[in-house]
Amino acid sequence: MIISVINTVLIVAAISGLLALLLVIADLLFANYGEMKITINGKKELVVKGGSSLLGLLNDNKIYLASACGGRGSCGFCKCKVNSGGGPLLPTEKPFLTPQEIEDNIRLSCQIKVKEDIFIEIPENIFNVQKYKAVVTEIKDLTYDIKELTLKLQEPASINFKAGQYVQLESPPYEKSRQSASRAYSISSSPDNQHFIQLIIRLVPAGICTTYIFDYLKSGDEINFTGPFGDFSIRDSQADMLFIAGGSGKAPIKSMVEYLYQHGSKRRMIYMFGARTRKDLYYTELFQDLEKKMVNFTYVPILSQPTEECEWKGKCGYVTPFFPEYIRDPQNTEAYLCGSPGMIAAVIKGLKSNGINEANIFYDSFA
């Protein structure tokens, strides 16, 4: 009886699988959607062969929306606004969209098959995103679990980005991973250096991309990335700036501070960096040196769990209790945060209770 049931299940499963395969083959061989138009932001038109995913067709035309899963519908990054022509919202998209996004016609571009003319909206800065080939020129240990990667751009040979933006680095298939993987890392170097970029990367235990970077990638190797992405960047004002970061969150802040220094900014800047112990601190000399060069810049490392071995004479605890000491004029202060989601949530709460307007709090969460 049991064998008979198992046999029936197996036969049904095999027939279903075969039918699904036949449908895919038939779709590939016989479905001809002809030429379609993708109209972007009401002004740019792409003529494409229909039937493929919107994300793939945009990529074919060198328009790169962020994507960490290669179009498998599992990362939720490749969002864009579809004004018409995208077909109905699919169940595979819903978990990634908020009710407001659904109401605003935001869709996952990897899940939309272009079968008719489609009208979409994407941020203008996406047109600046390109695929880059680079060579690793240096890999430096910053702490026991954080490395600094320096990449010299090969093709294209230069990049335009804003301090605070990130790229998606691609690890190729290697001994411990059967497929390539893309992961987002903030650029830590200044945008003024367009031929090199630096990334600060913290090891993710069992992470495909960071294991590759930590254990396999060598100086001289080629590596690909896409970017720049993100809207975490310096706002154009003269307000005081409060930078707060933890762990590898130092990357975008370093890029911002170096950029402001190189452009002779006179804005008042406080940089509070939270770490657990002294061995989690890095770039201390670099920022102390910037303090000497910029009279309006103050660097404040704070240890939450200093041990006796740390011989730490600086500030101890979390960053939030020190806000009153450094916030001069809450109504005229912008805060720039980068760190874990837990840290971001706690810091935002602390900033608001110290009178900083939420509209002036900008952050890049490790999300």
Binding site: L10, G342, M343, F366
Partner: protein, 155 residues
């Protein structure tokens, strides 16, 4: 056992080198259906559901998440620490949605049981009854998990 395309995809996602370097099956050579079925039988024997365990894990995880740096003592008998990593991970069951990368280090101070789980573990236990294969880094044995989360004498 012949797998449907969907099962094959899930099985591949669970292997080492697909979603994570180590995968979700460890050294366990059982099919993931068998791992789930056998753990379900254990849950019935110890009179607790996967959802109850996941809800308790979520409770501790939420408390530790608020203390973003360092450990927190909860109810004077649980020490919990949340370590965040950059990025998100998808569910190997191809369940739509992404989960924060991180590890929760848990110790029951009364019976000494120490465990480590991820936000994805909580989802896989609640939604799929999957506690990972034996030998997997984040395998959570249901009996030990219950003792750790609810206390049930010393190990």
């Amino acid at each position: 056992m012949k797998e449907t395309p969907s099962e094959l995809r899930i099985h591949n996602n669970m292997k080492a080198g697909y979603l994570t370097v180590e995968g979700f099956l460890g050294k366990d050579d059982r099919h993931f259906h068998d791992i789930i079925r056998e753990d379900h039988a254990v849950l019935q024997k110890i009179s607790i559901s996967a959802v109850q365990l996941a809800e308790r894990m979520e409770y501790f995880t939420g408390k530790a998440f608020e203390i973003y740096d360092g450990a927190i003592i909860i109810d004077e008998k649980f020490r919990v620490e949340y370590k965040s990593y950059r990025g998100k991970i998808i569910c190997p069951f191809a369940h739509p949605g992404v989960f924060r990368k991180g590890e929760i280090f848990f110790k029951n101070l009364e019976n000494g049981i120490e465990l480590c789980w991820t936000p994805l573990n909580i989802h896989m236990i609640a939604e799929h009854g999957f506690f990972e294969g034996k030998g997997s880094k984040h395998r959570l044995d249901p009996v030990i998990l219950k003792q750790a989360l609810f206390g049930n004498g010393d190990l």
